[in-house]
Amino acid sequence: MRILVIEDDLDAAAYVVKGLRESGHLVDHAPDGEAGLNNALGGSYDVLVVDRMLPHMDGLTVIETLREQGDVTPILILSALAEVDDRVKGLKAGGDDYLTKPFAFSELLARIEALVRRQNPGQVQTRLNVDDLEVDLLARTVTRDGKTIDLQPREFLLLEYLMKHAGQVVTRTMLLENVWEYHFDPQTNVIDVHISRLRAKIDKNFDRPLLHTIRGAGYSLRAVS
């Protein structure tokens, strides 16, 4: 996919651009707000990565301007400001996700891919399928291979999020933010324990595992062919 990175810190930008290119994406870089806005308006990008503090025009203004023009390209905000308040401001301006610096590259990549996927949801889905695992969002039921699986409410939310991002890498932070709505670092890897519980319920008695651990990045729910 085509990605525009608007970031004034050239070293940081070089790493991001290099990492994204190596992951198979087409990447452009703009070093300030004005250039970034021009590029974004000119090219057709699948996703924009915008630093919050930029010379000439700050990141939030760039985003607001784009949104005023009717541009709906998904935007990921990068920022050194970590307060929940700053996050809310960024999302209000029109950002779709907010990542605090410093971040792991795997985290950035996972979030970018999640954003692009979210962009094409088709119609509202009430039923999610991965291989023979099925989640009914209305009835709140989970079945695999026709057998009903009982999940706790939080386990259901966790599975729902994984199913919505099936095939993608989902990081622990993404899970903590989206399933528990916490933005702090819980030290112990609590997420791993929840995942292994969920895994015991959906994978244990079946031949093909669906919930995979991606080393150094997070988890991915997908059917391995």
């Binding site: 308040d85 792991a104 916490y182 702090f184 670092d185 030290q187 609590v190 929840h194 292994s196 150094g216």
Partner: protein
């Protein structure tokens, strides 16, 4: 120099203004005293004169000059301070106790005038002041009626001089008082100034001297001293933190550096490189999470987070967090008991309270042995637990080693790790964050033994939050 300081001092100026106002009112009072004493005497003299004149005029009207003379002669004998003289138109004295017509400048008949005469006293003849009136009777006779006012004038002079003295003394004593009071104040304020200069010079241990009287200056001094104590504690704390940061961050940075250096010595060994880089990323992540924890503590302590506070349901925050950690405890074979009442909200920052609760539960799980018991409860606080406010009590209990009573204050500081916990992973920042969050939320944080009476080992942490009251907020 001191004198200049004195005059410039506020106390002196205030004292001077007060002295002015006081002297002004004293002056008015003295005028009043003068008017009602000396003035009264003068008016009395004039009234006596008028009464006498009215009497004599009556006599004269009835019996003419021949009737008047014996009366004047008779009255002149009395020597009661009255003065009379009757003269023919030609200037011959007919009667009276005045030897001759007083030497006066031109005086209108009928008007009051002052004059001097030779009075016969037991001590001999003296010149006395007198006051009187004269009339031209029918036939050209002249009548003068007067009164000796010597004594009255002397009394009046004494009154005036004592009034002057009184006013003078008032001003002098007031001035001395102003100087003494303001010197006293200036001296005390100078002491304050000297102390603050010393402190600005770097000696943070200096304190403002107190007089021990408990007056306003003493209270100001006490407040300043309390403030200085707090600043000193903060400074010491900051120095410790800086030392600790330097120490605790130097070791991992050093490890990273030497690993990279050693790896670089080897010639292009792909696997070793990869392994070293992975290890480096892991350690960098640890460093970052330490920094994040420090930042979170700093934010909670700075109090700027107060602006982000709102009404939050403590019950659901604690329930969600407990639920997040429950599987971790079960994984360790620990029993995890949760007893949460549905309670009124508190005024707070959800994220921070959740992180504090998470840290407490995380510690409980980490330090309790396998098969241990952890309990999280949220109950209404006891009446009076928080000075007359309704409160909510969060208790987290574990069956770990606990915290020795002597260390219970110390563990709130950053980077403090007890010997017991050295073997466990951790940054020594968890409880500092809890402590900072407690302070931010006006909550009381206490560490105690789990259940010493039942021989249950472990730590019991209680956090007593004030319940949010929309009426007081």
């Amino acid at each position: 120099m001191l004198f200049l300081n004195l005059i410039r001092s506020t106390t002196f100026r205030v004292a001077m203004v007060y002295l002015g106002v006081f002297s002004g009112s004293a002056f008015l009072v003295l005028i009043w005293i003068y008017w009602s004493t000396a003035g009264f005497m003068a008016r009395q003299t004039d009234e006596t004169l008028n009464a006498e004149i009215t009497g004599l005029a009556e006599q004269y009207r009835q019996r003419q000059i021949n009737g008047l003379l014996p009366i004047v002669a008779n009255r002149s004998e009395r020597r009661d301070g009255s003065i009379y003289i009757v003269m023919t138109p030609t200037g011959r004295r007919l009667a009276g106790n005045l030897s001759s017509w007083p030497a006066t400048s031109e005086v209108e008949p009928g008007a009051l005038f002052d004059f001097k005469y030779d009075a016969v006293t037991p001590e001999g003849t003296q010149t006395h002041n007198a006051r009187g009136r004269f009339f031209v009777l029918e036939g050209g006779f002249l009548l003068l009626v007067g009164r000796d006012v010597q004594e009255r004038l002397e009394t009046q002079n004494r009154i005036i001089s004592s009034l002057y003295w009184g006013l003078g003394l008032t001003i002098v004593i007031g001035l001395i008082g102003a100087i003494v009071i303001s010197r006293n104040m200036v001296a005390r304020i100078d002491a304050f100034n000297r102390t603050s200069r010393d402190i600005m010079g770097g000696d943070l241990s200096r304190r403002v001297p107190l007089s021990g009287t408990g007056d306003e200056m003493d209270q100001l001094g006490q407040n300043l001293n309390a403030m200085l104590d707090k600043i000193e504690r903060l400074m010491v704390g900051m120095r410790e933190v800086t030392d600790n940061i330097a120490h605790d961050l130097r070791s991992p940075l050093n490890r990273i550096r030497s690993r990279v250096e050693v790896t670089l010595m080897k010639e292009n060994e792909g696997d070793a490189y990869r392994e070293a880089l992975q290890e480096t990323v892991r350690e960098a992540d640890e460093l970052l999470s330490t920094f994040n924890a420090l930042l979170a503590i700093a934010r909670a302590e700075a109090g700027a987070a107060r602006e982000t506070m709102k009404e939050i349901s403590i019950s659901s925050v604690v329930r969600d967090t407990a639920e997040l950690y429950e599987p971790v405890a079960e994984e360790k074979g620990q029993t995890f008991e949760v007893d949460i009442d549905e309670l009124p909200p508190i005024w707070g920052n959800r994220e921070m309270v959740a992180q504090a609760v998470a840290n407490l539960i995380d510690n409980a799980i980490k330090y309790s042995p396998e098969g241990g018991a952890i309990s999280v409860s949220l109950k209404p606080g006891l009446k009076g637990a928080l000075e007359g406010r309704d409160s909510i009590r969060l208790t987290v209990k574990d069956t770990g080693p606990g915290i020795p009573a002597a260390d219970r204050d110390r563990v709130r500081n950053r980077f403090v790790r007890l010997e017991l916990s050295r073997s466990k992973p951790g940054s020594g920042l968890g409880l500092s964050l809890v402590s900072a969050v407690a302070q931010l939320h006006d909550a009381r944080l206490t560490f105690s033994d789990n259940e010493p009476e039942n021989q249950v080992p472990g730590l019991r942490v209680t956090m007593i939050f004030p319940a949010y009251d929309s009426k007081t907020a």
